[in-house]
Point group: C2
Chain length 289, copies 2
């Protein structure tokens, strides 16, 4: 909490999260529901500042987002949430999860709620699951690195591991895909492909294998758009056999009309790609003064 | 792995870890053994570089450390380990845990061992437990932040939570306490005091309560040295009632002849204290180029 101001406030940073592949898992409680899969957390993320008041602003514009309001209700606080990000909404970067988790972390500080990190992650995870806006972003964003969701759900139920690697990441995005629409449809095919991709990764848990499994998942799940297909092909063409085993082509961000790659493959393929790194820390309060 | 060099190498950073209180828990396997308790991970830590070869150097001097050698044996690799740190050995900062975990993370990259982060944490935790050099540092250092060890053991058995706060930290150290000597003695009294401190913290999991519980633990466990007692008193005298609830006096690092405090209380009490922050990220490979 910032001391000395008339209005107390706190700020949290939450990394963006690209899912490479996943399987959806329903359960009787929101804390047990979630997804298995693997992804990448990004140094590009969302900064969320909370103070007493009301309303949610993202990059200066007032928006409504059900899970953010839900977290405030669950904490029993009246919070004004002001967030900034360079990441696009609805393009597979977990921005809704970041807003929700960041609100939980910062509001706990401002309103002295006395929750632990696991309790705040669970609140945010449940708010996302209940709103249908995400299944695994929150727990991955809380962890940082290259999270593997071994078992679904919040910290008391789920189980996470990680890939020990810290490559550079590039991404390019072509627009929105609605998470709600995909997740509310028939996810059986997705889940079969996701379970298969996870088994494939766990046989040899390396970055190389993660990229390959993600690429296969997108094809099997039938979610590849024309723009994504063109970008994947373009990276394959320039990528070829570089002899560098950490650069294994590109894959699609789930769920977004977005392509990501390690190294600088998208730039090499002529795309005006964003560059960032793997976020090592996971969601965190920004240092108190 | 650094590309282009004749000798491949990788570097990991592992934060220092100060334990405020703990209870020791034995078990039939090293992965299940460990400690419960709470502590602070520090932006002051250990950088560990691994390349093919042999031997361990810390700040340029050749040393021997059983758990580091053990990790290399468990991974089946011949590694030269070169580490640097500003933290003192044997003073309660988890330097042996940091060397062990950093070696596991970096060696996995150099020798392409294909382990996950949890597997590497388990290897390092077991090496520390078997050597008697630590019970909970490795899992805390892997997590970062202000880790609460809810259940003892490696990732597949233990359970961690965290305090959502990021204060400034000061510390001052007066010399060594042997972890092996304390842990190999009668730990019943320690464990009763540690269990009580953890219950006290979990009733209201805040930084303020952590400092209070740590201070009580040191007194009950009978480990306070004369230098530590003098520093704790000095901070109490200048600290008084500042009205700032994140600055609640000082406590003793377990196990070291070391005092730590939030804010700048040790400086205010006239000590030439080191200043750092809470490490948000936990142990990590340093970004690949």
């Amino acid at each position: 909490m910032t001391a000395g101001d008339s209005q107390p406030s706190a700020t949290a940073f939450v990394p963006g999260h690209i899912t490479g592949f996943f399987s959806a898992h329903t359960a009787t409680t929101c804390a047990q529901a979630g997804s298995r899969g693997a992804g990448i957390t990004l140094t590009d993320g969302v900064e969320v500042t909370v103070s007493p008041g009301s309303g949610l602003r993202l990059n200066g514009e007032t928006i409504e987002m059900l899970p953010v309001a839900d977290v405030c209700t669950r904490l029993g606080v009246d919070a004004a949430v002001d967030a900034t990000t360079s990441l696009p909404l609805g393009a597979g970067f977990g921005v809704s999860g970041a807003l929700t988790l960041g609100t939980a972390l910062a509001a706990n500080t401002v309103f002295d709620c006395g929750k632990t990190e696991n309790e705040l992650i669970t609140l945010a995870h449940c708010a996302e699951v209940d709103a249908g806006t995400g299944l695994g972003d929150v727990v991955a964003q809380a962890r940082g690195g290259l999270p593997i969701r071994i078992d679904p759900g919040s910290p008391s139920h789920g189980r996470l591991d990680g890939l020990p690697a810290r490559p550079q990441i590039e991404y390019v995005t072509f627009g929105e895909v609605s998470t709600e629409t995909v997740l509310s449809g028939d996810t059986d095919e997705l889940t079969r492909a996701g379970e298969s991709a996870l088994s494939h990764l766990l046989e040899w848990p390396t970055l190389d294998r993660f990229m390959t499994a993600s690429r296969e998942f997108a094809a099997e799940a039938g979610l590849v758009t024309d723009e994504v297909a063109a970008a994947l092909d373009a990276v394959d063409e320039v990528g070829g056999d570089t002899g560098n085993d950490i650069d294994t082509g590109a894959a699609m961000a789930m769920l977004g009309n977005t392509v990501f790659a390690t190294g600088e493959k998208l730039s090499a393929a002529g795309y005006d790609a964003h560059q960032c790194r793997v976020d090592a820390g996971g969601a965190r309060l920004i240092d108190e003064r």
